[in-house]
């Protein structure tokens, strides 16, 4: 087994939700409430869950964009919490982030060339005379024409902007990229272009991804392992194939079953969760899901379930007793005619993708 690239132990992060007039803390949100995770190099770990489950907070903690309340994050065996200024700067070269909104994450006053040159200059990676060449290389890498270098972000579509944001993250040749909902703001057809690009880059550059998303169908495509989160805790952690074939936790099952399928016949066969996600300021005792869970018993209301098991871990007292999940069986494949017609779009894409992405010419 490889040495993990990222190792998270007992990670906790509280935010102050309310203060008194004198500044005393009145209420805290436990955004991340005791999370352990390891991420292997060259793989993709997906963090999945709904708004407020803590998935983005974990992403920021891993990059040390915010400090944890408790717990440690190790990157390549070293505790990033102990890094001084100089080490932190070096760490920024190794771990990067791509945000959801490509309209907000690029400075509108900078040309693409300036956006991509900034990290090169900041870290002194490429000598000034060679930076333009490197910018062109980066654009090529993400499938953009080099003549775009002099343009401003507003001249690009959402998908193209996201390519620029990815190129910026790649500029410093990182090992790890945290992708925080990178395709959520994009149209379906563009979404798959960006997912294919991320996939390609991972293979070529041996990148490790932490892929944060609320969309399980996207996650199924891109992830090696999936951690499902609910109110600050991981409720299920398993290899992607296994999680989708055999979801154990009632919350995972509900998430899967809530995906609207492009199959009118599949209507109304779902297990809906009742009610809303409770306030994270005062989450329910025991298992956080119990007020919404059809299988909850007294034990669930009192005792917090631990995330047990190595290969396929589930934080549910009752997972062994639950009826087998029907989620996967619900999906019916399209007919042979449609499958053949849809393949036209797949085949065409294969040729273009390999032509558009070239290897990175540096060590």
């Amino acid at each position: 087994m490889n040495e993990p690239l990222v190792e998270i132990k007992g990670l906790v992060r509280h935010f102050v939700a309310r203060r008194s007039a004198l500044g005393r803390t009145l209420a805290t949100v436990k955004a991340v409430d005791g999370v352990d995770l390891t991420i292997q190099p060259g793989r993709t770990l997906a963090l999945v869950g709904e708004s407020g489950c803590g998935k983005s907070t974990i992403g920021r903690l891993i990059l040390r964009l915010i400090e944890p309340t408790a717990g440690t994050v190790r990157f390549g065996g070293r505790d990033i919490g102990a890094f001084g200024d100089k080490e932190l700067r070096a760490f920024r070269r190794e771990a990067q982030i791509v945000f959801q909104d490509p309209y907000a994450s690029l400075n509108p006053r900078m040309t693409v060339e300036q956006v991509l040159t900034e990290p090169l200059a900041l870290h002194g990676i490429v000598p000034a005379g060679k930076r333009r060449e490197r910018v062109h290389e980066l654009l090529h890498l993400v499938g953009l024409d080099t003549r775009f270098a002099r343009r401003y972000p507003h001249e690009f579509s959402g998908g193209q902007r996201q390519r620029i944001a990815i190129a910026r993250a790649l500029a410093v040749e990182p090992k790890l990229i945290v992708c925080d909902e990178p395709v959520s703001a994009l149209d379906v057809s563009v979404r798959s272009q960006i997912l294919n690009l991320l996939d390609d880059l991972q293979r070529r550059l041996s990148l490790t991804y932490i892929f944060i998303s609320h969309d399980l169908s996207v996650v199924k495509h891109i992830a090696t392992r999936v951690a499902v989160m609910y109110l600050g805790r991981i409720v299920e952690l398993a290899p992607a194939e296994e999680l989708f074939a055999n979801p154990r936790h009632p919350y995972t099952r509900a998430l899967l079953s809530a995906i609207p399928l492009p199959q009118p016949r599949a209507r109304q066969q779902r297990q809906l969760l009742e009610g809303d996600v409770p306030s994270p300021i005062s989450p329910p005792a025991g298992c956080h899901l119990h007020p919404r869970c059809a299988y909850a018993i007294d034990r669930c209301r009192i005792e917090r379930p631990e995330l047990g098991g190595d290969g396929h871990a589930t934080a549910c007292h009752r997972w062994r007793e639950l009826p087998p999940a029907a989620a996967a069986a619900m999906v019916e494949p399209p007919g042979p005619r449609l499958e053949r017609l849809m393949a036209k779009f797949a085949r065409r894409n294969d040729g273009l993708a390999s032509a558009g992405v070239d290897t990175l010419g540096t060590g």
């Binding site: 709904e50 708004s51 579509s157 998908g159 149209d187 379906v188 057809s189 563009v190 798959s192 272009q193 997912l195 294919n196 996939d199 609320h214 969309d215 399980l216 169908s217 996207v218 199924k220 495509h221 194939e241 989708f244 998430l255 079953s257 809530a258 995906i259 609207p260 399928l261 492009p262 199959q263 009118p264 209507r267 779902r270 809906l272 969760l273 009610g275 809303d276 996600v277 996967a328 999906v331 019916e332 494949p333 399209p334 042979p336 005619r337 449609l338 499958e339 053949r340 017609l341 849809m342 393949a343 036209k344 779009f345 797949a346 085949r347 065409r348 894409n349 294969d350 273009l352 993708a353």
Partner: protein
């Protein structure tokens, strides 16, 4: 039985700076029967929301030109004076927007906002309107509506706010409800609840619904019929089952192919290469031809014909009907 809404030759042109014009919607024709639910699907910029705003008469008059006819129960909405249109909106015509937080007034309780609608259009007294409002909130399954009616919008979750919007839209029993991406801002489990609610309400209220969405899955959940839009035109129209089993426009097929598959693992996702044509200068031939794996030379020469596939199913494609062996 005549259609409730009959749209013919609808065009929307935006006039921008320096004499630039953009044809956001170009000759859209469709009709919808009472009680039917039509999904209007397409990606950003295809003109689906502009079509909805044109129907509702909500486009700014000074910079937009709306041509054609929108017949609602026999009356052309585009020819109505503003005052009469205002009487219709919120009454027989209702609309739900994507972001409930920006469409609710933060300075008033949710109850007051629905009460206002009922007093304006139904002439109810405040007390009667309040009672009816509580009943409406109960219909959209808001827990303890007697208390919630006095809450301000910020006190409610996103899903609850969208329920309030739905309750407000249904307050006067509209004949036509337009829902523009009603669940896009919601989490997936909450989206499932709201879609379920819309299905129930549609049967109960008997209103015709136009559901605008970029998500084919959402449309498959709720709609009876689907119109797929691309670059300002409807490119395919079909009953919902037919559209998903037997799509006949390459763009529809491309959209379906781009959805990540849950039934099996694929190495590479299918994509629709390229991007929308510049809406200032749309190509003369088929607008999708440049991105279409089925395109032949004739596709770029002239606008494609509308090919009838079956009962209420047509496709704006020279190559339709497409079969699986098509070269």
């Amino acid at each position: 039985m005549s259609a409730l809404i009959d749209i013919s030759g609808l065009k929307v042109v935006f006039h921008g700076d320096r004499g630039r014009t953009m044809h956001a919607v170009d000759t859209v024709n469709f009709d919808l029967a009472r009680g039917a639910t039509l999904g209007l699907v397409g990606e950003s910029g295809c003109g689906k929301s502009v079509t909805a705003l044109a129907i509702m008469g909500l486009l700014p008059k000074d910079s937009t030109e709306v041509v054609g006819h929108v017949r609602f129960d026999g009356v052309d909405l585009l020819a109505l004076p503003d005052s009469q249109l205002r009487d219709l909106r919120g009454d027989r015509l209702a609309m739900i927007f994507q972001e409930p937080m920006t469409s609710l007034n933060p300075a008033y309780t949710v109850g007051e906002q629905i009460i206002e609608v009922l007093m304006r259009h139904r002439g109810l007294t405040h007390d009667a309107a309040r009672e009816k409002t509580i009943a409406l909130l109960r219909d959209v399954r808001i827990p303890s509506p007697e208390q919630r009616v006095d809450d301000y919008p910020h006190k409610l979750s996103g899903g609850m706010r969208q329920r309030v919007m739905i309750a407000m839209a249904l307050a006067c029993d509209p004949q036509l409800l337009i829902a523009d991406e009603p669940t896009t801002a919601l989490d997936v489990t909450i989206q499932a609840q709201v879609l379920e609610l819309m299905r129930t309400l549609k049967e109960k209220s008997g209103a015709a619904i136009i559901l605008i969405s970029h998500d084919l899955g959402v449309v498959a959940e709720v709609c009876d019929e689907v119109a797929v839009m691309y670059a300002g035109e409807i490119v395919e129209r079909a009953p919902v089952g037919e559209l998903f089993d037997n799509p006949q426009h390459p763009y529809t097929i491309g959209l379906l192919a781009s959805i990540p598959r849950l039934d099996r693992r694929v190495d590479k996702l299918a994509t629709i290469e390229g991007s929308l044509p510049d809406m200032g200068h749309v190509p003369q031939g088929c607008r999708f031809a440049a991105r279409c794996p089925f395109a032949i030379e004739a596709c770029t020469a002239a606008p494609p014909p509308i090919v009838t596939i079956g009962a209420s199913h047509w496709s704006r494609c020279l190559r339709a009907p497409l079969d699986g062996d098509a070269a």
